[in-house]
């Protein structure tokens, strides 16, 4: 119960970070905070159910996915900066094939 409240707070902070900015790197930081909230939720749920081994296995999977997603996203952000010389998401509203 105690952890659930802090998970909600972390989710609120992450969503605020994503919605309140146009900077692509800050959006990624917001996604990172959301992933941390989910990690905390899974570990707290594992402790609550007495099933920490399964929770740890799931957290390991989450960490692997997090790293890959962040690596690709950072590469995309860098490509956007090279293309438009800006990290502002308002400058990339035109799709280019």
């Amino acid at each position: 119960m105690l952890s659930a409240i802090f998970v909600v707070l972390l989710l609120a902070i992450g969503i605020y970070c994503i919605l309140a900015t146009y900077n692509l790197l800050r959006v990624l930081i917001g996604i990172e905070i959301l992933i941390k909230a989910v990690t905390l939720l899974i570990i707290a749920a594992g402790r609550q159910n007495g099933n920490m081994a399964l929770a740890q296995a799931m957290v390991v999977s989450i960490i692997v996915m997090e790293v890959v997603i962040m690596t690709i996203a950072v590469g995309v952000v860098l490509g956007i900066h090279l293309h438009s010389n800006s990290l502002d998401s308002r400058n990339i509203r035109k799709l280019k094939g």
């Binding site: 105690l2 909600v8 790197l25 570990i43 159910n49 399964l54 929770a55 960490i63 590469g75």
Partner: protein
């Protein structure tokens, strides 16, 4: 219990500082600090294997990625960042309140129903679970890793000059 509470409050404060700070570099360092505090929470809850991975990967590798990108790009000047922060706070001050109220309502509803999921009987060792019971997860992880490598190669490959 008291220690748990203090560490959880520290985690939320660090995340808040990460989001509200003007400098992107400080935000990256705040993210690393939040990961380190989450590691403490995991150790405290008995998830040592996941805690080690969180510390080495999330507190080590990902901030390095962010700092590399920041060094390769041109962040806002101090004045621009200050103006942006003020306009952001003026526009979105109500948003965290809405999300927190919704979250509290969700937590209260879940407490009211009291319908916990039955816990599956699994062994105590995380390694056993990962290698013997969740092989499909491992397959997914391997595919994602290869996908990531392929994505990086595609993103950073040298483009052929058109003739």
């Amino acid at each position: 219990m008291f220690l748990d509470l203090i560490i959880l409050i520290l985690l939320v404060l660090t995340a808040l500082w990460t989001v509200m700070t003007r400098s992107l570099l400080r935000a990256s360092l705040g993210l690393a600090l939040a990961s380190a505090i989450l590691t403490l929470i995991m150790f405290n809850m008995g998830a040592s294997l996941a805690a080690v991975l969180e510390l080495s990967v999330c507190a080590g590798l990902i901030p390095v990625l962010f700092i590399s990108v920041i060094s390769l790009t041109q962040p806002l000047t101090f004045k621009e960042a200050l103006e942006h922060m003020h306009s952001r706070m003026a526009r979105f001050w109500v948003l965290p309140l809405i999300v927190i109220i919704l979250g509290v309502i969700l937590v209260l509803i879940s407490v009211k129903f009291k319908a916990p999921l039955p816990a599956a009987q699994t062994p105590d060792s995380a390694r056993f679970v990962l290698w013997h019971l969740r092989q499909f997860d491992l397959l997914g992880q391997i595919i994602i890793l290869f996908g990531g490598v392929f994505g990086v190669v595609v993103l950073f490959k040298e483009r052929k000059k058109s003739a």
